[in-house]
Structures are given as structure tokens and as C-alpha cells.
Subunit: 360 residues, 4 copies
């Protein structure tokens, strides 16, 4: 199978680098264009980017010449790791120009016709693209977003529990520094310290979780009706957001039932067969002191959500901890999984028939 060319917008930033790292040797996609601000444009990527991940950028990408965001791109598929302001219009322009844009930016997430896609949780929202294309007059283009990195472990853990009626949700996050990008959090602010505030994230947790868990019907998303309270804090951890979750359910399942729900959770076809899908979306850890960011963030190559410490909450009924890798599952990895689903579902022009891909 010939690989599909993709472009990475915001390729020199921390999430852009994660896209490049994860797409190295991807079976379906090939990084053909790297795009950054005009300051980096026209330079070889290997020089323009200060690589902050382990090791060095893949040699074939290091040799690419960085393009400017104003350029035209050839790749049918575009991953966006742009800052919010830069993403706002450009993502829509590129979709209008026929590109399928999978965005990690927050700029357009809450537009009513943009799916906030997490394949294991709301794969059916992908069909909102029909509404999007019809409304905007786009033919081959599309814009699909993934959620904030802190929302991800929450909605993953809640999905199998929706049947019990999630009424109220109380969240306290302990977030890694990579969530703030690079240079991001100064070391003088975070060594031997906690910053009990993460700009913007509390609101996103309250709004995005309702949209992701919402119901798609009749061409629109109806948000889930639940009350959410979020507190976001920053801790001296490199990768991996841990969320302390308390929740009130309409029904009162037993602890063992909930664990069984998590352990039995599988995504709908064809998600489990996509190249970036982990062997299971969730794992429940029985050790009393897990999940831990460093020890569990890389489960499923960073795509699995780890849950632990489920017990009764005297105030809200149930409480537990959930953890995902914030720049893999919570950002670049999820965008790539979204793109894989878009391809298989026939939303990307030029992408081979799904059978071929999945067999490939």
C-alpha cells in the first residue's frame, strides 16, 4: 500500500514533534510537509526545530525544508498542532481548500459542526462531517478536532459508565508540564512546587466532556446533561495527566461491576483494528497506589488509559483516578487515530479502500 502524504502544522512545537515521532514508520501515513512560523520557514527541519523529545528527529524529516503557514500544501491530510490564534482561520481555510484537517488546537473544537472525536468513545460523531460539508459547501475537505489532553482520560473512563446515568462529576487534575508546550513551564516555577492553576483547562474540562459524551442524531450533537466541576493543577511531572475523579451516578452499581465494565470495554469496529489503537482502550490496575504517571503513561504505547483506586466516595458515591499520556493519547496520538478512522470510513480522498488498509 502506498502511504498517504501528510502535512504537520506547527511542526516545530512540542506536539508537532510528537506527531513526527509517532508517524515515523506509520504503516499508512508519511510526513511529507512540515510547516511552522515564518521564523523557521525555508530552513531544514533538523535545524529549525529544537527537538525536545528523546533522541533526535527521524532523518528523513530532519531533511525536509520547513514551509510557512501561508504556503499551499499538497498533502491531502493535515495534522494541526497550531497555537489557538494561528489555528482559528487557517484550519478552516485548509478544509475549505479540500484538505482533511485533524486538529489538536482548541480554536475550533466547540464549533457545532466540528466533531470532537475520540474513536473509542464517540466514533459515530464522525458523521457530523456530512453536516459540516453540506453547511459549508466543502467537497473533500473536513475539520475534525480532538479534545483537550486533560479531558481525554475522563471521558475514556466514563464511556462504559454512561449506562448508569452520570449526573455529577468532580475533577481534580495533576497535570504534566509537557501540556504547556515548549518552552512552557519555567523550571523556577515547578521544581519542588505545584502551580494550582492551568489557564483555560478548567473550562475546557467542563464543556468538552459534555460534547464528547453527547449524542449524535439528526446531524447534530446533543451534549450530555451532567454537572461538571474541574480544578486543574500543574505538578513536576514530564508527561501524563492524572485526574482524581468523583462521580454521582443515577444507578448504584457495585464496585466490582464498574471494574468489570472497564475491563470489558472494547471500541466499536473498526477502531480496535486501526494501527494506532492500543490492545484495549482501558486497563484497571489493582495495586493500591496506581495509576502513576511515570509508570503507566506508556501503557499501550501511550494510547491506553489507566484507571485505579475505585472506591466509594462519601460525598458523591464513587471515586477513582485515571491517567493518560497527555501528548500521545491526549494530543498527537489521538489525532492520528482520528485520521486512521477517517481514512477507513472513506472521508479522505485518495485513501485506499478500508479493506486494503486494514488488511495491510
Amino acid at each position: 500500500m502506498q502511504k498517504l502524504d501528510v502535512a504537520i502544522l506547527g511542526a516545530t512545537g512540542a506536539v508537532g514533534q510528537r506527531f513526527i515521532q509517532l508517524l515515523n514508520d506509520h504503516p499508512w501515513f508519511r510526513v511529507a510537509e512540515v510547516v511552522a512560523s515564518s521564523r523557521s520557514a525555508s530552513r531544514p527541519y533538523g535545524e529549525a526545530a529544537r527537538w525536545v523529545l528523546d533522541g533526535n528527529p527521524p532523518a528523513n524529516v530532519a531533511d525536509l525544508t520547513v514551509k510557512s503557514l501561508d504556503d499551499n500544501f499538497d498533502s491531502p491530510l493535515v495534522f494541526s498542532a497550531l497555537p489557538k490564534e494561528a489555528a482559528l482561520r487557517r484550519e478552516l481555510e485548509l478544509a475549505a481548500a479540500g484538505h482533511v484537517v485533524c486538529s489538536n488546537a482548541s480554536a475550533n473544537r466547540m464549533l457545532p459542526d466540528v466533531p470532537l472525536l475520540l474513536p473509542e468513545v464517540n466514533g459515530d460523531h464522525i458523521d457530523l462531517i456530512e453536516t459540516q460539508r453540506r453547511k459549508r459547501g466543502w467537497r473533500s475537505g473536513a475539520l475534525v478536532a480532538n479534545s483537550n489532553c486533560t479531558v481525554m482520560p475522563v471521558v475514556m473512563a466514563l464511556k462504559p459508565l454512561l449506562k448508569y446515568g452520570v449526573r455529577r462529576l468532580h475533577l481534580v487534575s495533576e497535570q504534566a508540564v509537557s501540556g504547556a508546550g515548549y518552552p512552557g513551564v519555567p523550571s523556577l516555577d515547578i521544581i519542588d512546587n505545584i502551580v494550582p492553576f492551568v489557564p483555560g483547562d478548567e473550562g475546557k474540562m467542563e464543556t468538552e466532556s459534555r460534547k464528547i459524551l453527547g449524542n449524535y442524531a439528526g446531524g447534530v450533537i446533543e451534549e450530555l446533561d451532567m454537572v461538571v466541576s474541574a480544578t486543574c493543577t500543574r505538578v513536576p511531572v514530564l508527561d501524563g495527566h492524572l485526574i482524581n475523579i468523583s462521580l454521582d451516578l443515577a444507578e448504584k452499581p457495585r464496585i466490582a461491576d464498574i471494574i468489570a465494565d472497564w475491563e470489558g470495554f472494547v471500541a466499536d469496529e473498526p477502531v480496535p483494528n486501526l494501527p494506532s489503537a492500543p490492545s484495549a482502550p482501558l486497563q484497571y490496575l489493582n495495586q493500591i497506589d496506581r495509576p502513576q504517571p511515570r509508570r503507566d503513561r506508556d501503557a499501550g504505547a501511550g494510547m491506553m488509559t489507566s484507571i485505579g483506586r475505585l472506591r466509594e466516595c462519601p460525598v458523591l458515591g464513587y471515586k477513582f483516578a485515571a491517567l493518560s499520556h497527555n501528548t500521545i493519547r491526549g494530543a498527537a496520538g489521538c489525532s492520528i487515530l482520528n485520521a486512521e478512522l477517517l481514512g477507513v470510513k472513506g472521508y479522505i480522498e485518495g485513501f485506499p479502500a478500508s479493506e486494503a488498509a486494514l488488511a495491510g
Copy 2:
């Protein structure tokens, strides 16, 4: 004024060292006896103790010969930083033998006749000593405990709000490693990591908070009737426990009213005049990203509680963050403040009249 001799039990441990550090140049007390396990006994303190605080132990204490826990002590006042098992019987024996014991150990905290004392919050509980002495037949001895270090910032913040009727309390802590003593938390467990579980602390937060905030009348403590849910996590911070607090109040004061309550909070006489009392028990920080452990733990020489981020909680009504230094306010410093109050209230034999002390 001649200083009162004090003995430190568990003097070589992390909290024992903090006692020694804080009592250096104390206006009323003088460290006369240092007590540790038989392994350390008979050696000079400066050799027996692996000093883990900054700098080195005070020279006069370094020269003291370490006593064994089974020895008899001459000091009328005893501070206990013993491990739970060692504290269980020995603290009671020493009180029976006539010593006033101010304990940081958890062993005897929840005994009905042991005051769980925090002078700014429940100074009147001190009179439970009358019950204690009568019931146990003690004449000059007494046993007074201070609470778990994680409970401290919670009850300090709640005290001025009790008038609104605290019904439900939801707590998520981010606790410093010094709370586990020395050697305590291995670096391999906590660098670039969080451990979402602290053995024993969740239960203590739920029980001790109700006792501290309880009502003393008729010789007994009636615990406060409120529902508490606590989650305790360990973070890579040296000192300072941060607690994310959500609460449900019977009345619905305005945000500004609550802040005014905190800013106007003063302890009853004579607490504000005690040598270890901070200029104010609480400070409310207006910056959006405070309190922070490293930047706020030393407020009031580690005895002030810092609060910030008060805002509405969609689930429970109100939420905010509170922080105290866990080995000063939350341990040794609180025990010392308790002892100062005991002295001034006439509970320590041989302590000069309160007027002289407070004037001194």
C-alpha cells in the same frame, strides 16, 4: 525568665529534627533531653542523627547524649515525634508519670479524652485535660495531640466558615514527601511521578477533621456532623501540603464574604500572643495561581495557612485551595504552639505565671 526543660522523643527522625530546629532560641523552652531508639542511645546527638534539614543541628543539642525511650526523663514537658507503635503506650506512661506530653504521633489522637488541639481552631478543647486527669487519676501529667499534617490546612480554612453550616467536604491533597519522614519516599518512586495514595491519611482526614471542629461541652467533645471524602496523593515536593477543597454550606454566603471571613479571622486570646503564633492564622492570596507549596509554605515562619482560588463549584457550591507547611504548622510547630498554650493556661507545673511569660 528561666526556660523550661523539654525532652524530644523520636529526636533523630525528620519531625524530631524539626522540633529541635524550631526550639533553637525559643524564648520559653530549652531542649534538655533528646530521646531515640536504643540504636542511637548513649551516643552524642550530633553523631547519632543524620540531620536532614538545612545546615547542621544546633551545637548545644549536637552535644547532648541521646537517651533511650525506656529511660526516665527530668523534663516536665515532653514533645513526641515517635512512630505510632512506639507512641501507643509510652506517651500514656509518661503522662501518668507526671509529664505533659505534646504529641505529633497518631497513636492516641482519637482517644475520647485526648484533646486534638489546634489553638486557633479549638483552643477551648484544652479543658478536656480536666476530664483526662480525673478519669485517669493523673495529677500533673497530660497528653495533648495535634492532628495529621494534611488535616491542618483544612480545619484552619473551615473554622471561620462553620457559621454557615459545613455539610459536605470533598478533599484532594497533593502532599510533600517530608510527610513520610526519613528515609520515607524513595526518589525512584517520586521523581517525575505522582503516587496517588498515602497510607492512612484519607481516613485520618475524615475522622480527625470532625473531632477538631467538634464542640467541647460538659467535659466531652461532640464531633462535627459533616460528610467528608478525602483523596490523598504524594507529589515531588519537599515541604508543604496543598489541599483542593470543595464544600457544601447550608447557607450561601457570597465569595467576597468568605474572603472577608478569612482575612478577618483571629484566634481567641491569648493565642495571638504566643511566641510561635504567626501574625495571622490565615492569609488569602489574590493571585490566580496561588497558594504554591514552595512559595507559600514559609509564610509566618511556616505557621500561617495560605488560601487561594476561592470560586464557585458547580457540584458542591464552593471550592478553593489551602496550604500549610506540613512539618512546621502540620507537626512540630503546632505541638510547640500547643505547649505554649498549655503553659499559659497553667497546665504545666513549674511554668511561670502566664503574665510573666507573655510579657517576657
Copy 3:
């Protein structure tokens, strides 16, 4: 090819765990026996071991019952991660009993007839086993050691420069906490701190480096005649020892020549074809601020040594930095590579002919 059974001594410790992790899915070896102190014996490994690496122990090892060090073992090949005292006699006993013992312990490293083996550097020292067997009357058994984890990057970097005559060597290490095992370094000692002393390591750097780089001839090792000065410090890094190296060479090669020596360095056959050998033993990094522990320790799956910052030293002639993963290349990984070489060289009874193994 049928896999050879191996036993891991000290299997519950930090290095023991690394052996188990690295041997998971090893093409030649299979963990058949896990051995620990009597405290852990008779329990399933998954319960007895507090797993400190990422994730969880491999399921097949977790189910093994831990044996006691005094038991007899069936595995022809034994990896030792024992503490020094435990290793001293037991390793020799097991070798006498016919086992090939590859040890990471320091206990027997400097015995004249024990090869201190690092395949890329002194693969020919393996034949010292002939002397060992003859002298001790062993038939199939053998004892082979690998060096201290801090010595490893030094001798790897020096090997290609021996031809210039290494006369004096000045070393300052910045060592990771995992080098002290588990629980090892207390977090209270190392967060926001450096400990400028690592017990025992300075002496080992000075003696072991001379033995490893020595000449094997006539059945004995003649140590390299060079003057070594080592300072060892501990830093808040999880894995990866960085060594700042200054050296005086008899000849005065150009900077570019030395870099070319490193980049062209390959081990003698059959080392490059062993399963645990990295694609190259060394990499030279051109970035001014590399190597860095976190970003470079995993190069070559933790088996590659990274070098950078080569420049003139006004005092000694040349200086640079070298880095290796201390528990992979510097411990378990090196022992495994040693065992692979022993197998291929015919030193392990029951191991298939080398051609078969290398053909894999």
C-alpha cells in the same frame, strides 16, 4: 532454537527487575528461575517484588515462585544482581557447581582470574576463563563480571583512543539515583539537591577502568598503566550516568580525528551480531548541549554510549562528556551481552552452536 533457561539472583531488586525486563522475549534466553532473599522465597514473584520499573512484570515471570539463594538451581546460566556480601561466596559456589555466572555484583570483580568483561572493549578477556577453570578445577562453570555502571561509559569512550596512549584521566560523574538501587536514595536527600559523594564508586572507577582496558596475554590481565582521578556525585536524575572526562594523551590527535575514531568504532566479530548489541557501540552528538541523560540514555535500547562536547582542555589536553544508561548498558544489559558472547564462544554447556544462534 530452544531457549536456554536462566536464573536471576537478586531478582526482586532494581537491577534484578531490569534483567527480567530485558530478558522478556529474548531470542536465546528464558527466565526460568527467580531467586531472592528468604523473605521473598516461596511467594509468587508478582507478589514478592515491588516492581519499580514502568508498567508491570511480564506475566510469565510474575507467576514464577521465588526461590531462596540457598536452593539448588537447574538453569545452566545464572545472572547475579546480588548485593556485595551475598555475592561474595555464592557466585563462586554456583560456578563451582557448574553454572556459568554473569554477575553485576562488585564482590568478585577484581579477582585476578575473573574477566571484567565488556564485549566491545575487551572481548578477548573472555579467554581468562581458561585460566579460571584450570586454577579452580571447574569444568563447565565460570564467573564473569561486568564493571561498575559509572566505569562503563568511560572505558567505551577510551577504547578507540588507546592507540594515542592514555596517560592521565580526570573524571567527574553526575550519576542517576537508580544506581543506588531500591529504595536507594531518599527523595528528601535529592529533590532540589546534589549529593557530592557516592560510596565506593570513586575507587571502582580508578581500579576497574585499568583492568578493563588492560591487556590479556599469557593467561593473565595486565592492567593499563594510567593515572585516574575520579569524583562521583549523585543528581536528581532517574537513569543515565553522565561523566565529564578530561584526559591526557601521549600523542596529540586533532579533535576531528578523535571524533572520527569514535564514529568509526565497531566491535570485533561476533559482538556486533549479538542480539543485545546496539547498531553501534558509540554515537557522537554534534549538538553543543548533549549528551543529556533523559534524551540520550535510551539510544540503542539503552546499550549505546553517547559522547559529546569534545574540545581542548587547557589543563589536560582534551575533554568531553560521555553517557550510558546505568541499569541497562551499565548493569543488566551488559551482563546479558556478556552471556550472549559466552554462549557463542562455546563457554555455556548446552548452548547451541554459535552459527545456529547467530542465524537466529
Copy 4:
């Protein structure tokens, strides 16, 4: 005694903040003017500065209106914490306009007529101001610099050993992140990591140490003739630079002699009586694992240099570790001590007679 008004240039930066913190309640000086870039000018300091030290800025300084660097200043004494480029011309202009400028910037340090002053080490270099004023035609103005923060502990430790003839010096630093200012080192670069390169510092260690230890005679400084090799690394420590020092002396004193030299070292009059002078310039720590940044940086309120681990170096003769607080002794605190000496020596117009000040 009426306090002298001082201006702080670069007042919002990390070192500027340290100046403000250390000058709070200073017996001789009063912060009257705070100066920053035009972005901060005209705003109250409390708003313009993002305070990165513990707690909050002193209230009286928080209320000052920030001035722009182009403004005229009234204060006779000016402390400069400017970035290099901003310092280059402006410091000279202010000195020409009659201000005494004590600078922490590197810009003008190596000008032949600018004293690189460290009172305990080269207090006599202060008279280079005569040369400076004569040559430049300045009447009351002067420019005095202090050295790079990494040089400070080195020259402090060497001063008492100069009599033995320091011939060669080999330095490997482990430097705190505060040395890079704010925002400075990104947390993504330094958590669980070392950066083995600090831009510019290696050169400064080699040149500034020779100037500071040089001889002042005949109106010029003759640099010390010694060979210096420096390697600078950055570690995850907040404050305190640790330097691993090896040195070659012409004479061969015994270890005990050197320790006695350090312990007996006192600065010449009137330095020991200046308000910011520590009780002793140096302390030698006998514990095998000291000095440590966190535990020793605050010795002498951050103005004392701690030394430990003196032993023989097989390569150069002697080796040891030295540590100073990099933003107190190594920056703001040293500038303030310099100013105190300038005042007492009569170099600041309007400063009271030295007797009055020292008696004060």
C-alpha cells in the same frame, strides 16, 4: 543614620528581585527607584513584576512606580541586574553622570579599569576606581562589577591557598537553574535531566578568576598566571552552584594545613563588619557528603561559601567541592557587599563617615 537611596536596574528580573529582597530592612540602603524595560515602566512594581522568589515583594517596593531605563535617577547608588546588552552603555553613562554603579552584569566586567570586586578576596582592587575616575574624567561616579556566580565559590576557596602557588585549576560545575534567570531553563529541559553546557560560563570561569585573584599595583590589575579548565553543567536544582575543583599547587601542603587555612580565613578590615558580611567567609564541612546545594546554600544568609571533600587528586594533587548561593553570594548579595565597602571607603558621595555607619 539616614538611609541612602538606591535604584535597582532590571528590577523585575530574577536577580533584580533578589536585590529587592535582600535590601528589605537593610540598615544603610533604601530601595527608592525600580527600573525596568519600557514594557514595565509606569506601572506599580507589584503589578509589573512576576515575583518568582518566595512570598511576595515587600509592600513599600510593590507600591513604587517602575521607571524606564532611559529616565534620569536620583539615587546616588545604583545596582544593576541588567541583561548584558542593556548594561553595556547604560552603566557607563550612569557612572559618568555621577552615580556609583554596582553591577552584576557581565558586560563591563573585563574592562581593565573596572574592579571585579569580591571584598573578602580582593578588597584592595577597589582603589582601581582612582584609575577609572582619572582616565574617564568622572568625579563622583564609579562602576564596580562582581563576578559570574560560578566563579565566586572558586575564588573564595582559592584565596587562602594562593600562598602555595596555584598553577593549574580544573573545574566542573553543577549549576542551579536560577543562574539562567526567569523564565530561564524550561522544565521540559531539566526535570530528570542534566544539560552539560551553560552558554558563556566556561569562558568566564577561565578569565574572571584570573582577574579577581590578580594583583593590584601601580593603578592596574595584573592577572594571576594560572591555567584554568572549566566545564559547566546545569542540574535540576533551584539555587546553589556546586563546583568540583581539582588543583595543582607549587608547594605541597598537607590536607590538614589547607583545611586550617580555610577555617582560619578572615577578610581584611573593615569587611567583616559590613552588614552583609557573613560571620566567616568560608566553612569547611567534615561530613563526607557535603556541601550540598539545598542544605548549605543558605549558610550565612546565603553569603557563606561551603567547602568539603578535600582529598588528594591522583592527577592534579588536590581536589574538593565548593558551593555558594548563586543569586545571593554569587549575584545580588555580593553587589550589596561591594556597595557597603564602597560606602565605608568613602567612594559614595553623601554616604556618612564610615565610623558612623559601622557603629550604626
